[in-house]
């Protein structure tokens, strides 16, 4: 078959001398050496996620100290990993229902954000938290006490949702 073989590249005289080419390479590596490094020194220097980031899901706590959640159970229903468990109860508040127990198993959660998407009350949102370490199974079960987050802290995410959903 003709045309299949490539012509062998013939080196020029200066390339055959090796040394100038090696010096060229060394110049290149020296330039790389002096470049600013982009590495982030993680534990000291933490990454601040943008509002579009889907971290650990949390429950929004209004300023008056009441959670937005009405315990409709849609999030638990939609959760593909079956990580959410909600137990509803009645309340004298205007919303009439509230979650007596709200538990997210963080070992099961896959951070898909379906719960946030399906929530009619904008009560469960994805927080920017990405550091979650557990040493015991029990520690990974986030109850209401760990999930409730003041709305002020979640402002960027809430605004992002309003703008893009």
């Amino acid at each position: 078959m003709q045309g299949q073989t490539h012509d062998k590249y013939t080196l020029t005289f200066w390339e055959k001398l090796y040394i100038p080419e090696i010096l060229k390479g060394m110049k290149l590596t020296l330039e790389q050496m002096l470049k600013k490094k982009e590495t982030r020194l993680y534990p000291e220097e933490k990454w601040v996620p943008p509002p579009s980031y889907r971290g650990a899901p949390v429950l929004v706590l209004e300023e008056d100290g009441v959670e937005r959640c009405v315990a409709c159970g849609l999030c638990a229903r939609v959760c593909p990993a079956l990580a959410i468990e909600v137990q509803a109860a009645e309340t004298a508040d205007e919303k009439e229902r509230y979650p007596e127990r709200f538990e997210i198993n963080m070992l099961r959660c896959i951070f898909c954000g379906f719960c946030e998407e399906v929530c009619p009350e904008e009560a469960i949102v994805m927080s920017p938290t990405y550091e979650m370490v557990f040493t015991k199974y029990e520690d990974a079960l986030f109850g209401k006490d760990q999930l409730l987050t003041p709305a002020a802290q979640l402002r960027p995410r809430l605004e992002f949702l309003r703008a893009h959903r």
Binding site: I19, I22, G25, M26, Q32, M33, K37, T39
Partner: protein
Amino acid sequence: MEFIDILIIFIKILVMFAVVLVTVAELVYTERKISAWIQNRIGPNRVGWKGLLQPYADVIKLLMKEDIVPTAANRFIHTLAPIISIGVAFSTLAVVPIAGETITMFGRQVEMVIADVNIGILYILALTSMGVYGLTLSGWSSNNKYSLLGGLRSSAQMISYELSMGLSVIGVIMVTGSLQLTEVVAHQSGWMWNMVLQPIGFITFVVAAFAETNRTPFDLPEAEPELVGGYHTEYSSFKFALFFLAEYANMITASAVITTLYFGGWQVPYLELLELPTGLVVALQILAFMVKVAFMLFVFQWVRWTVPRFRYDQLMDLGWKVMLPIALLNVVITGVVILLLP
């Protein structure tokens, strides 16, 4: 020879030993740092200030490991090989002068060289050739095909490059007219460094030195993708540490020899015009020597992370078909020039 003379030599040896050991440790650090910088990484920065204590952590880890000798290995030679390597690597430094002036210690004039033998260059060439025994024996005694291949490669490579190394040194000897290293350095006063007088010899010597120290692009004896670990595949713990130490000590030796033969050793150009006190002159000369050696060490590491490894046939071609003729040519040119110049 009185007791005090022996004591002075002993102190000199001890100081040299300590300096080389610390330098080896920090070389491991700079190697990792330079490789990191070239690859746009940061490198070790956790142990100690800016990671400076990293090599010590590495050494402690290494020494904690189990010392394994393969059952089929020749136990005696397997143990002897790293000792040869390290002994050769260290003893070469004995003839390298680190300063020109003498200082007074215990009422004696102390020269800044451990042993000022009159065949210093010959001694260096002889000992560096000995280094090949350590690698070859380690490869053979391990009873492992990869080790054996690494050992064989190292012997073939080192013998091939020894020739051009020796021939490039002949140029220096012809210029200086002496085999004594102190005289070689003394001859390179001012800017009359052998690097300027012997540019071809300098290049061939440096390339040969790279091959002698088994550094990339000539690190075929330990080419990881082909030979697992090369000659030290079957070594662990302290013996491996010794090989590691020998490799870096060889690098220091090579740099010191290159500095002495081509960079003018301890010479600081035009220092004698300032008429400084002797102590300061000695300190400056030692500093100059160390800076030159450090620069050469940096070049060693710089080249390692720049140039890829040669193929084995390319290595042999380069050694016999390129380096040897050039080194011979250098001898002829030097001879003609010396004959023509008054």
